[in-house]
């Protein structure tokens, strides 16, 4: 009887799964006791909890890239166990670079629309002049596009480039592109995990409508100091990480410096006289107070300089600092507290004699956030938390930049805003077949004074002539916006290899990028929601089916989204240094829909993925004034509307560490505006563009091939190299970046600009020691 009582009582088995080689915690590892039908997943700190009766059990742990491990444990009371997992031998590491989601997990997760990138594998597939790159790899995935080669930013499911929240260790990055879009500002060398949520953000996150790109910087290697880096025709990178002897203090640090002038000389005439330079620096230190409490500090800086011609140059820089405390309150409750500051500054330097000037715009975000994660039984957990953000923006100021300059000082009023948000998010595994992730976020935003606000006649379009008064707002809230943002993700497993999913997401965005060019450019600036500019709002509905079968996975997702209060611009509007910027803006709304399919082969000598998506995206301006309407007030294709996108990536493992990679992408040409008539003014022919975006550029397609060689022969080998021999744009297609119209003599001609008009062979060397 006593035995029966003992057997009925359960004890708490807590544990931590770590990498056997470097001692790093492994999150999202699966922990199972099959005899009890118990399963748990490890937290961000690698810990797990199981309630088990007295007895002897075999604990199975598994994680992507690691071998499955069995550990026997005798349970007679509450107990803690540390499990070391070993990485698979290097020859087994050659998975496809991007997993639409890790195959085994994606059937079990409630959420869909997630793309995870393996940073290690990224290094073996250069996509940007011999270099691995995060955004350029992402743009090979379904639902992620860019407006063209060399264009900054990216578009997710037809959204605008400013609708993507890019977080580096939890802190926002306002600029993601070096060299006007050829490189991502974060090198994959420092990334531990890279995850893109396509419009299906957990309730923990808000502030952008289209996507969340979460990049985590790896903490230092506890197994010893490790140095890695790379060399390509454009840049040099070096990174180091390590830990102190007691493994309590870990660090990662690195730098990348570019020398792209050689490459620029090979560009078309209007770019070849340009000069550029950029660098980025990153450091992270982590101090483990004990086995369950840690503090980390992340610092990041990037700088770009670009000179188009002799009269104008651009400089932009990001600075970011984030401090995070992570600790266990008790066995079930985990707490994360983060304080951060992110700054972005952009300068436009005019160098014309007598008119030397410097035009600066800035944005600063300071934020504090708290997240509590309470683990329920099994794999279920609840997140709750809050964050407070303070925005400070300098939309534009101009000062003379040399003695004798005739330029006068001008400054657009600075802007201040405050955003407060609270959320709760529950991820519940109802049973083996059904799981639900439901969240609710409430965000409240206030535009803060002191600030002078113009008022306008209401019967005519806003203009400087229709200003009726100026209201001088004192310190405090001028206007506030806010609302609930429900999030829902459902999963129903038809069987062990097939899941059906559905999701809903609502978001709000209080920060807008003011730009009148198709792509993100250095003269763009950020703007807060104000009395004339309410927050952007958007809803997205999605359904999908996911299936795994014998080394393959397949998925089909469909979505519909709508968005309100988007920004559009009056024709000919002045954006820079406009003290009445509302006179240049027109509200718009949009909608989009699409299907995204993916088929992947995830194991064996030959791995690969085939993606196809059909997606549409439309916008229309909303104005009561006929003179402001675009396309007669009808919907028209947005700049990122690309109906058909097809991509194929494959990797064939060869002998002696060699692998062959191929990648092909095809996209419908993006919308463009061609003239629909010409007229004569001042004895000069002028083109007329009466309707917007009704034409298209030629379709885009490109094939890249590469051979990579990893000189690592065994798992614990520390010194090894990765060589890449790649050819970008193999069949030298001159994909159109734009078609523009220019006067030539007395006639007007059309020209197609291709940023890259030929094949680009390249060699890069990545090293580890």
């Amino acid at each position: 009887m006593l035995t029966s009582l003992l057997e009925a009582q359960t004890y708490r088995l807590t544990g931590k799964v770590i990498d056997a080689e470097d001692g790093l915690a492994l999150k999202n590892a699966t922990v199972q006791i099959r005899s009890l039908n118990l399963t748990a997943a490890t937290s961000d700190s690698g810990t797990f909890v199981l309630n088990v009766p007295v007895g002897t059990y075999t604990i199975l742990t598994s994680h992507v890239g690691y071998g499955q491990k069995g550990t026997t444990v005798l349970i007679r009371g509450d107990q803690f166990i540390e499990i070391s997992a070993r990485r698979k031998p290097s020859t087994e590491l050659d998975e496809v670079i991007v997993n639409a989601q890790i195959s085994s997990n994606r059937l079990k997760e409630s959420r869909m629309g997630i793309i995870r990138i393996n940073p290690e594998q990224l290094k073996r597939n250069p996509v940007a002049f011999g270099e691995p790159d995060i955004l350029r790899t992402l743009t090979l995935q379904p639902g992620v596009t860019t407006v063209g080669e060399g264009a900054g930013g990216f578009n997710v499911r037809g959204g605008n480039a400013d609708q993507n929240l890019v977080l580096l260790d939890g802190a926002p990055l306002f600029n993601t592109s070096h060299l006007l879009g050829f490189y991502t500002t974060v090198s994959p060398d420092v990334a531990q995990d890279i995850t893109l949520y396509k419009g299906s953000l957990p309730a923990n996150y808000g502030g952008r409508l289209s996507s969340l790109l979460n990049i985590g910087i790896r903490p230092g290697d506890t197994a010893g100091t490790r140095v890695s880096g790379g060399l390509s025709p454009v840049s040099a990178r070096i990174f180091a990480d390590g830990a102190t002897g007691d493994k309590k203090f870990r660090f990662t640090t690195g730098a990348r410096v570019a020398f792209p002038n050689l490459m620029l000389r090979l560009f078309p005439q209007n770019l070849k006289d340009s000069r550029a330079f950029f660098y980025d620096l990153v450091s992270k230190v982590q101090f483990d107070l004990d086995s369950v409490h840690s503090i980390s500090l992340t610092w990041y800086q990037s700088f770009d300089q670009f000179r188009f011609d002799t009269s104008t140059s651009y400089e932009w820089s990001s600075n970011l600092l984030a401090a995070t405390y992570n600790g266990k309150v008790n066995q079930r409750l985990n707490m994360t507290v983060t304080a951060l500051q992110s700054d972005f500054k952009s300068d436009l330097l005019g160098e014309n004699k007598n008119y030397e000037s410097k035009l600066t715009s800035t944005i600063q975000q300071r934020e504090a956030k708290l997240n509590l994660r309470y683990r329920l039984a099994g794999k279920s957990f609840v997140d709750a938390g809050a964050n407070a953000i303070r925005y400070a923006l300098g939309p534009g100021s101009q000062v003379p930049n040399a003695s004798g300059s005739q330029v006068i000082e001008r400054k657009v009023q600075t802007e201040q805003g405050r955003e407060l948000a609270g959320y709760i998010n529950a991820d519940i595994a109802v049973n083996e077949k059904i799981s639900v992730e439901a969240g609710l976020r409430y965000a409240n935003y206030a535009y803060l004074g002191p600030h002078d606000q113009y008022t306008y006649e209401t019967s005519v379009p806003k203009s400087r002539e229709s200003i009726t008064d100026t209201i001088r707002h004192p310190k405090g809230s001028i206007v506030s916006y806010g609302g609930l943002e429900p999030r829902l993700a459902l999963r129903f497993a038809l069987n062990s290899s097939t899941s059906l999913k559905a999701g809903y997401h609502r978001g709000q965005q209080f920060l807008h990028l003011v730009t009148n060019s198709t792509a993100i450019s250095p003269v763009d600036f950020w703007k807060l929601s104000d009395p004339y500019l309410p927050q952007q709002k958007g809803d997205q509905f999605a359904v999908g089916i996911f299936k795994n079968f014998q080394g393959y996975d397949a998925s089909l997702e469909g979505y519909y989204r709508n968005q309100l209060n988007l920004l559009d611009y009056r024709n000919g509007a002045t954006l820079l240094l406009n003290p009445a910027i509302e006179t240049a803006l027109i509200p718009a709304k949009g909608y989009g829909y699409g299907i995204e399919s993916s088929l992947g082969k995830t194991s064996g000598q030959f791995t690969g993925r085939l993606n196809y998506s059909y997606a549409r995206s439309f916008v229309r301006v909303i104005t009561p004034f006929a003179t402001e309407q675009v396309n007669s007030g009808n919907y028209y294709p947005s700049n990122s509307d690309r109906p058909h996108t097809l991509s194929f990536q494959t990797r064939v493992r060869l002998r002696a560490g060699w692998a062959f990679n191929a990648s092909f992408v095809y996209m419908t040409g993006r919308p463009s505006t061609f003239p629909d008539g010409n007229y004569s003014i001042n004895n000069t022919i002028v083109t007329n563009y009466s309707v917007r975006n009704l034409d298209r550029l030629p379709d885009y397609h490109r094939l890249d091939l590469s051979m990579s060689c990893v000189t690592r022969r065994y798992e614990t080998q520390k010194r090894y190299s990765i060589w890449n021999f790649s050819v970008y744009n193999v069949y030298a297609r001159a994909n159109a970046y734009s078609v523009f119209f220019r006067r030539q003599g007395s006639s007007i001609n059309a020209y197609r600009l291709s940023v890259i008009g030929s094949m680009i062979p390249s060699v890069s060397w990545n090293y580890n020691f």
Partner: protein, 342 residues
Amino acid sequence: MFLLLTGCIRQVEPPLRSVPKILVVEGGITNDSLSYQLRLTYSGPFRFGNFVPDSLIEEEAIVTIKDDAGSETFMTYHGGGLYKTDDAGFVGVPGRAYSIAIKLPDGKTYVSNAETMPAPVSSNTLSRIDFDFLHYGLKNPSRFKVYADIQDPGSQENYYRWVSESVIPRKATGVRCGFGCIKGEFCQQPSSDTALRYQSDEAINGNTIKDQLVATLPTYWFGRYYLDIGQYSITRSYYQFLRQYEDQTTKTGTILDPMPAPIVGNVFNAADPSDRALGYFSVSSVYHHKVVLLPLSLSEFILQQSASRFIPVGECTIELPNTTELQVPAGFENAEEIRFNW
């Protein structure tokens, strides 16, 4: 490896969509007491700017210019889509607002927003003159480039445009008129410089606009160059129109190009404001700075290289269009003469 790398710009033939023709308005009023002009044409699929087909010229419009004091004057048709005022008493006055009404044969009436004529800015001091030498064999002659400093009044927003007219010396081979006698070798010819030059005082309000290029003069031969620099004070709305016009005509296809859009003018259908005409009816005041330029160190050797192909055989006034004998043009009797080297 890098020899293989090139980006490229290639000429292509995109289809032109067929849309209904749109009225194009080009002209304006100033404070000069002269005949004001307006050109009415239509947009179409033509490709050459100097030639608007007859089918796209409006010949039967009724055009009226009005001011805010109730005065108005009609414009009469002079061919080629050109309408002119005949009323010598109707002269633009700074501070007064002007608009235009265009009644078309189909019954539609297009009107412009009334715009107030800005005050002229009478500061214009030549700062330097450059000689832009073009070797012979080229299509265009060498040029003088004239720069000026303009003291901007700080008390108001100012928008400027510079358009120059000149009378320049020309040379022909001449014809023999006896032993050692050649006649008809020299003459002079009017020249217009309509290149788009405009400026806002937004960045320099109250300071000096320095070294502004205000005129270029084709340089064929020695002699006096009579230059009339028209310094127009234009409205903000017209300045914005010119800026869009320049954006549109100088696109390079890079990421910094603004998205293509129609150039918004100030003329629209009175019954349907969303029906916009193209072009602009400008209301501007003008200050004329007249000078006589006398280049001193221009060598015949240089001119022979750059201008020999522009020296016709025969009498100057016969072989070259619109030429006259050498004389001081009207209005330049008291103009300052500037002798210069470069």
